[in-house]
């Protein structure tokens, strides 16, 4: 998904002064992109909604510190990605990711577009793999940036990406083979 959200400076200035309507307008402008980012990284929709809420609580609290350097979406996205990764780390502490290599869905109906195949295949990746794929391939983060956010090495990020793509390929080939 390409984000091309231009937010007027006057709206940002009002939000920085604590104007409630301006903050609500920012929420409406970035609600879907933030949720989409979180939902693509996390398996559970409720977790993604929680990340959406945590992200905007942080935005509301810290917008005064936003200096206007770079696009506002970049600043908000960084907060959202950090919150989602934090949630992944917490869930990993609770339980090892046994779901990683499982296939939970059946074959797609005949004739469904490839896009749906990929979306379903993506759902079968571990949250760590989803996060790396989404941040790198869709959001355009570098391996260095991902490694820093995840508290891991660059090689970890690279190997997660390769592993995830190999996994996606196998799932997609398997599903197409059933049609």
């Amino acid at each position: 998904m390409t984000i091309a959200l231009a937010v007027p400076d006057i709206l940002i200035a009002r939000a920085k002064s604590g104007d409630e309507e301006a903050l609500a307008a920012l929420y409406r402008a970035f609600e879907t992109p933030v949720y989409n980012l979180a939902r693509r990284m996390l398996r559970n929709p409720e977790d993604a909604e929680d990340v959406l809420q945590e992200t905007f609580l942080e935005v509301v609290k810290s917008i005064g510190a936003y200096r206007g350097e770079g696009h506002l979406w970049g600043w908000i996205r960084q907060i959202a990605a950090s919150k989602a990764l934090m949630r992944i780390r917490r869930s990993q502490v609770r339980a090892e990711e046994a779901f990683d290599e499982e296939l939970t869905g059946g074959a797609p109906p005949v004739g469904v577009p490839a896009r749906i195949d990929l979306e379903r295949a993506f759902e079968h990746l571990s949250e760590t793999s989803r996060a790396v794929v989404w941040l790198h391939d869709v959001e355009g983060y570098t391996h260095e940036e991902i490694a820093e956010m995840m508290g891991k090495s660059v090689s970890f990020s690279k190997s997660q990406l390769a592993r995830a793509h190999s996994r996606l390929r196998r799932i997609l080939e398997g599903e197409r083979g059933t049609e």
Binding site: M1, A24, E31, K158, L161, R163, H165
Partner: protein, 194 residues
Amino acid sequence: MIHCTMEELLALRANEGSVWARQHVDACAECQREFDALYQRVAQLKALPALSPARDRWPAIREQFVIARARRRRRWVASGMAAAALIAGVLVMRPFTGVPQAEVAQLEDVKQQSASLEAELGRYDLDSRVVSGRAAALAAELEDRIASVDGELARLNTVPTQPGPELIRLWQDRVDLMRRLVDVHVTRAAYVGL
């Protein structure tokens, strides 16, 4: 034949691949397909539709925002209260000449009421209390108005002031607002069992 690994293909995609990998992909139909498929997967991922949340989370965020704003204002009001107490001290120390004793007594009375209400609020840890968004918004409004009264009292402190209708009215306004603030924070909280 040795084919490219996924890591090598990803490196090629990032223009970081080895010479061998580039030459191999150019020559190997299988790896060329794999490389093209990689590009297609990424393009398809980017084209996935945006997902929207099932529920509107703004009301919960707004409630937290209102409560946090009320806390900030409360801290500000607390400093205003300290200023008002200072004003009261100055007035007590200053000899009132030619002022009806009834007005002096009335002023002392409302200041005493204000101090009692502040003490009552001070006995509760307001920041740790859970209040509804509506109550928090009402408290924030009352604190704003108290701050405004304190500002007026501070302004009067800059000029020689003696007990008079304006000063008494301001202190009485302050007492009324404080009483309503106590009602929001303490009485209603107790009523709902907080």
